[in-house]
């Protein structure tokens, strides 16, 4: 047996899950797709006293349109569903583009959006995508619910705004404004590995091809998804030019906390950030031009 012993509970309703969490607090660990948690338990890095398996809460697996045109995604929706769903392809093309980059098919068949967000790995794609898209996260405990903006949800490495007695139930993502181009690019040493660096870009152009909104968010460049605020600001009220994109990429680099590792030195990561940023900006501008 690899994991240390634990008490196993598999509630079949959200209300009983919330009761368990209210009573067990920080003793309990929630098990969704388990693609990060169970490896950590196999290493005994994580030894929960009570393991609450959420996989019977099938009501929490859905992708649908909300009343205001937002896309609503249940927290137990698996990566595989997000990857294949036609609504995601049509209305959340940024997510559709990034899904095949998340690990491997076997992992995507199990992993869930809620699990990825709650795990808050700085090298994970979904937190970055949700921050880029101005997503919101709905959390519940026994006494009620609250919404948190994605950008406020991630507080550090593996650290989120989620309290011990709370569970993520839903993710809401607004429609992209008309004239918006998107892109997500990352670089990993092998297909499906955690990326050395990645970046999501959203660019909104008006009818005269002037940039009206811009968002640049980095993966694996800090403790949480990193929003390059001032770099994105350089794009506002400007038209696309090679010099501008160079300047944006250079500015963004200042906001990244790049730490070298066995796979890449800091100068290499710095170079990579410029290459990926310009690549992502070009792709987003191309798409924005097409849709404007």
């Amino acid at each position: 047996m690899k994991p240390a012993p634990f008490e196993y509970l598999a509630p079949d309703s959200l209300s009983s899950t919330l009761e368990i969490l209210a009573e067990n607090g920080d003793e309990a660990k929630l098990l969704a797709g388990g693609q990060s948690l169970i490896p950590a338990m196999n290493f005994r890095l994580v030894q929960p006293t009570v393991l609450v398996d959420l996989n019977r809460l099938s009501d929490l697996a859905y992708i649908k349109r909300g009343n205001s045109g937002d896309m609503l995604i249940g927290s137990l929706t698996r990566h595989h569903q997000l990857e294949k769903d036609p609504q995601v392809r049509n209305h959340l093309p940024l997510i559709h583009e990034a899904m095949p980059l998340i690990a491997h098919p076997q992992i995507r068949n199990r992993g869930t959006i809620g699990g990825s967000l709650a795990h808050a790995d700085p090298a994970a794609e979904l937190p970055v995508l949700l921050v880029a898209l101005d997503g919101r996260i709905r959390m519940r405990n026994r006494s009620g619910e609250r919404w948190v903006e994605a950008k406020d949800f991630f507080q550090g490495i593996f650290t989120t705004a989620l309290a011990d007695d709370e569970i993520i139930v839903e993710i809401s993502i607004p429609r992209m404004p008309n004239g918006t181009g998107y892109s997500f690019v990352e670089f990993a040493r092998r297909k499906g590995d955690y990326a050395l660096l990645g970046v999501a870009v959203l660019i909104t152009l008006d009818a005269k091809a002037v940039c009206r909104q811009a968002r640049i968010v980095y993966l694996n460049a800090g403790e949480t998804p990193v929003i390059a605020q001032s770099a994105a600001g350089l794009l506002l009220n400007e038209e696309r030019s090679e010099n501008l994109l160079e300047a944006v990429a250079k500015d963004a680099e200042k906001e990244l906390s790049l730490t070298g590792n066995i796979h890449a030195s800091v100068p290499y990561l710095r170079h990579l950030s410029r290459v990926l940023t310009i690549r992502a900006l070009n792709k987003a501008f191309d798409r924005a031009t097409q849709s404007a």
């Binding site: 098990l31 095949p100 297909k191």
Partner: protein, 166 residues
Amino acid sequence: MTSKYPVSLKVNGRAFNREVEPRMLLSDFLRHELKLTGTHVGCEQGVCGACTVLLDGLPVRSCIMLAVQADGHTIQTVEGLATTDANNQLQMHPLQVAFWEAHGLQCGFCTPGFLMTLVSFLQEKQNPTEEEIREAISGNLCRCTGYQHIVDAALLAAEKMKPLTE
């Protein structure tokens, strides 16, 4: 603390009922409880893909799933690929034949994982490109073949698995 939980599931079409500790991994359950040792255990941390089985038809890594989570579900392992013909002889799956013919294995340790990953992929995709095959097997490690013969085997299997009507 170590109380046992009931697990009822179907593996390769056969129903099984067992009581296990909740911390037992699905891979260990298949190998130790059901004696289905065709599912190989490599890294036991969800990296190598050797332990891939089908859960309700989709490939998953059995070393990072608990056996109790398979309760009420259907599992297919490499032992379930071959079929029995009219003379009660075991017939290898076309994918297995293709691995044999194209030399898609050497030591064979990773092979069950590759087979279970590819059988699901080829059912979904009838005319895969080499690139698509490489992407499909990106979560499976092989230290012998250099992958080329596995890709060749998958292309050959795709031919063999095409419906006869075409």
